[in-house]
Symmetry: C2
Subunit: 152 residues, 2 copies
DNA sequence: TTTTAAATTAGATTTATTATTATTAAAAAA
DNA sequence: TTTTTTAATAATAATAAATCTAATTTAAAA
């Protein structure tokens, strides 16, 4: 059995990233490949600035605007999503499978939470309970709390 | 039977608002009374600017900083909460009973959603399912979708 | 009434993000 | 391959929400 950790942490090559961009009808540029690569690498919901700092090391002339433009494009195409935070700084998230988020506001940490059982429960609930005058498209749990390392 | 609508829409007097402020150990000022009053009146999750526009009509010399300061104080004391939105503008919410939110991103509309049955389901789920290394404090559903007036 | 700690104000400042536009480069067409 | 077209990027300016600063005012305790 392969550990989940190892499976998720497969680092795609630039080639593979480029293919992903074309699959979504996007022009391949070194900037886009690097930004998407950084979004994959910095897997814990980086800000635009986090991504800029990472990518500018490889592409020294990089403009901040390009990072914002590219992230916008990725969000538009459904490759990434944007998370609004209580500090007013946006964070970005690769969309692989839908998942919920755990927020620790003391250290701005955001982690994924996924449990098919929970989704089943929510699906059941919302299929039964109709909301008057509202068509739900996406149901996300925001769990605010505290990460406690050393505590199971 | 009194309609839920009518019960909720009772507009408190400045006197009542002032009492609420003192109960939370806050100094009573005309600015604070008016800001909290506006937060109650503009019941659909106003922004700081929405509140400023409302209150400056009554207190012409009002400073924007006072609105931000007051809202911060209300959030700190647990009277109000702050909602981060996808546009980067914060919205404010009077805390009466805990509830979830319906977001329509096409028109920035945010509405409350409350169903004790749902909370019971979530409570059950999280009491059974422990999240490793994370202590949850607040569980909120963010339902993104579209309000459809004229559609039930 | 006097005192004092806290609140308010005006304005400057910060900072994430967006807009503008000239330049450059990707990839389609010839 | 070369040309052409279209879109992306870079540099920089602009925007706007929110925060900070410091002088002034005020609420309420003494
Ligand atoms: Mn949220
Ligand atoms: Mn901003
Ligand atoms: Zn995520
Ligand atoms: Zn609400």
């Amino acid at each position: 059995m392969v550990l989940k950790q190892q499976m998720e942490n497969h680092i795609p090559t630039n080639q593979e990233i480029a293919i992903k961009l074309s699959r979504y009808g996007l022009k391949i540029t070194p900037q886009r490949v690097a930004v998407l690569g950084a979004l994959i690498k910095l897997c814990h919901h980086p800000s635009a600035e986090d991504i800029f700092r990472e990518v500018v090391q490889v592409i020294p002339g990089l403009s901040q605007a390009t990072v914002y433009n590219t992230l916008d494009v990725l969000v538009q195409r459904g490759i990434a999503s944007k998370i609004a935070t209580s500090t007013g700084v946006m964070r970005y998230d690769l969309i692989e499978q839908p998942h919920h988020h755990l927020f620790d506001e003391t250290n701005s940490r955001i982690e994924d939470y996924y449990d098919p059982e929970l989704d089943q429960i929510l699906k059941m609930y919302f299929s039964k309970k109709k909301i008057k005058g509202f068509v739900p498209l996406e149901i996300k749990l925001h769990v605010i709390g505290a990460f406690r390392d050393n505590v199971v």
